[in-house]
Amino acid sequence: MSAIDQIRQMFFIECGEQIEQLLDGLEDLSSQSSDGLPDIEVINTIFRAIHSIKGGAASFNLTHLTRFAHAFENTLDKIRSQPEKLAEIGLPPLYAAADYLSKIVDKAATGDEVDAAELASQINSISNALGCDPESTDATAEVGLNSQDVETDPLLGFKPMMIGAQEDLDADQDDLVTIEFSPTFDLFENGHEPLLLFNELAELGDLTVEVAFNGIDESQKTLDVKWTLKLATSTEERDRITDVFDFCAPFAEISYSWDVVPDNTVAEGAQPIVNHEAESTVKTDHTPATSERKPDSGKPLQSTVRVNLASVDSLMNLMGEMLTAQSALFEAANASGANSSQAMSAALNQISSLTAEIQDELMEIRAQSIKPLFQRMARTVRESATIAGKNVKFVMEGEDTELDRSFTERLVDPLTHIFRNAVDHGIEPEDERIAAGKPAEGTITVSASHRSGRVLVEIRDDGRGIDREKVLQSARKKGLIPEGVSLSDEQVYNILFMPGFSTAQAVTDLSGRGVGMDVVNSEILRLGGRVNIRSELGAGTTVSISFPLTLAVMDGMLVSCAGQRFVVPIAAIIETISAKSTEEHRIGGGLNMIKVRDHLVPAVGLGEIFGIDQDPDKAGRVYILIENDRGEKLAIAVEEIHDHRQVVVKSLEKNYGNVPHIFAATILGDGTVSLIVDVSKLSAGSAQPMPVTLSNQVA
């Protein structure tokens, strides 16, 4: 990748950060009291975010993005100068503009076409919000609005050089300008250097320089010097000449007088032969203004470095290999008895604690706050609410919760679906809400937190809730549930995850297009996660999603059964129970129960689940008590528990698709493959009636 490509990529990452700041700022404004004026610092932050996007976009010739950011910035600028205007227009137009900005940033990043009509209408809306001229200010021409006309240097992605001192040398230089230049002492104190200015002038034509020096007084900071510069040039260079002195103007007396020789080839006699013209004489006192803002010393500067995500991924993979090698080392040490040496075992322990630490640090590097994802969902909610004509407030909680970077992208689709459902089916229309004695505005709250090694995301709405009976009826009608079976609330809500189920009365524009919660469920499962629905009729629905902190490495318990070794995720294990210390009860229909602290818990053999061991009475059993994602406890019988270790998760999906009750595989220290059990859907009924063959040859 070329350096410019890398910077371009960085630009899009930065855009993401700027949009986050922009949305944060809008959030801050919305939480401020509506009667007072908005916090100008917040407005400034928002302005700067848009401004930075515009600057970068213009550098990469992203015309659409530049144009929209420019229009947006103009409106913000107006609010900056007249904060009272904000109350006039409210926040919705700004949110809409932020959403559109984020949309076209995404499009620019992927190189997708921007709909020209939409762009024009979005530019108009944000500009009309406060009556700004859509593409006003002289800056527009220079930020690349017309850059489509300019050929782009493919190497740099910049507009080509437009300066042209060299190519103009052929222009006629019959005209003469005499410049009198008397600088003050301040000129030198402000970084100017007359010699450099004269060099610059010399590029515009033949230059002669005379100087009258009458002394300098350093203590008084006074200077009496006058240069007389005669430049043979063309009147066409007039602007360029005054430009040379542009920034010296406050610190010098400058006058220009022109001797213009009429061009022979053009009209004769019409122009005066000599045109003396004192174009400008400027003298300004140097009065330093005070800086706008004083340094903010309270804010600690964090030093960061940007790393390519791919190299972090490969570090994580290497870490995985390292863990595998480590367990091989441990096994070899055990087998050879080398472990009995104190020095050896101390060294091994040190290695394992170091790798654990490195792994934690790596996880930290990969971690990302869930906030950008939530902000994206806020946008989804706003858009959906607009389409559905509903009034919905979006509340974020725990948005600083961190999760593995790779999850963020993969959570977008399932979450989008859940939020659209909440707006579309959950939140009632305003009149219905008022009739039910609820606030007219619906609320959707999303929260994130860390819970026992997992990330928990909950989406709550205060809508109408799920009608249990309607779900049941519909499921029976569709033949998903046999007649006469009674289900718990939890089981009823889980029907929503069944393929082919939808309670939507009408197919709306938002959700209910046949892609239902079953897709959400399978997506989340693929992330090693679980989805759960709770609902109260009339009060609202909560969808909770939990998933592991990372997909790459897992804490597991190595167990064996029927001669095979399996890994059971530690996160799912409540406790292990020796068969000797518990009562086993055999109930009719092949159902076993064990007694755990006075409660009967269904028990099933791990071998039975996979159909590799049908003998439930094998001696020396150990039970592993787990909880599935419906909150049901289940005791899984295994023959032996080996140890607790970190395993590297290798997905099987690409080769085998979704295998029931198998989450993934891992490679053990001795090179053999072991399957990782997915306990989330295990239940007493999971035992396989027919033996199935499980391959041990997983790559």
């Binding site: 350096a3 410019i4 890398q6 910077i7 960085m10 630009f11 930065e14 400034n44 932050t45 302005f47 700067r48 401004h51 930075s52 515009k54 600057g55 970068g56 213009a58 550098s59 010739n61 200010t137 002289d138 800056a139 220079e142 930020v143 690349g144 740099l156 910049f158 507009k159 080509p160 050089m161 437009m162 300066i163 030198f188 104190e189 402000n190 970084g191 100017h192 250097e193 450099l196 060099n199 610059e200 542009d246 920034f247 103007a249 406050p250 300004t284 140097h286 330093p288 203004a289 005070t290 800086s291 706008e292 803002r293 004083k294 340094p295 903010d296 010393s297 804010k299 500067l301 940007r306």
Partner: protein, 124 residues
């Protein structure tokens, strides 16, 4: 001796673009991510030319220029403003604060380099 430039801009993208452009022209670059950082780095690196953005958190470009031009600062280093703005008011304010020149963003690579070489007192 290489020319030393201090580039102050709160946009990471812009800093890297400037760095890339100037380093390609064999100019050494130090970057700072806001006005405060810029003034601090100025003391450390003693650049030959300062290129600064205007709109920045913590201390804006005018603040930077004024800080560098403060009586007793004894630093007569040229300061170029690099901004998407180009309004006469702002230019005038920059001029009075003591800016040495103004370049409009998005900048043209060669133009930026030539502007820097033009104001630099150390000729390399």
């Amino acid at each position: 001796m290489k020319l030393k430039v201090l580039a102050i801009d709160n946009s990471h993208t812009m800093r890297e673009l400037i760095r890339h452009t100037l380093e390609s022209a064999d100019i050494s670059v130090t970057t700072a991510n806001d006005g405060c950082d810029g003034v601090a780095k100025f003391g450390e690196v003693r650049p030959d030319v300062v290129v600064t953005d205007l709109n920045m958190p913590n201390m804006n470009g005018f603040g930077v220029i004024e800080e560098l031009r403060k009586p007793g600062a004894e630093s007569y280093v040229p300061v170029l403003v690099l901004s998407t703005e180009s309004s006469a008011d702002l230019k005038d304010r920059a001029r009075r604060s003591g800016a040495t020149g103004w370049i409009v963003k998005p900048f043209d690579a060669e133009r930026l380099v030539s502007a820097i070489r033009r104001v630099a007192k150390v000729q390399t």
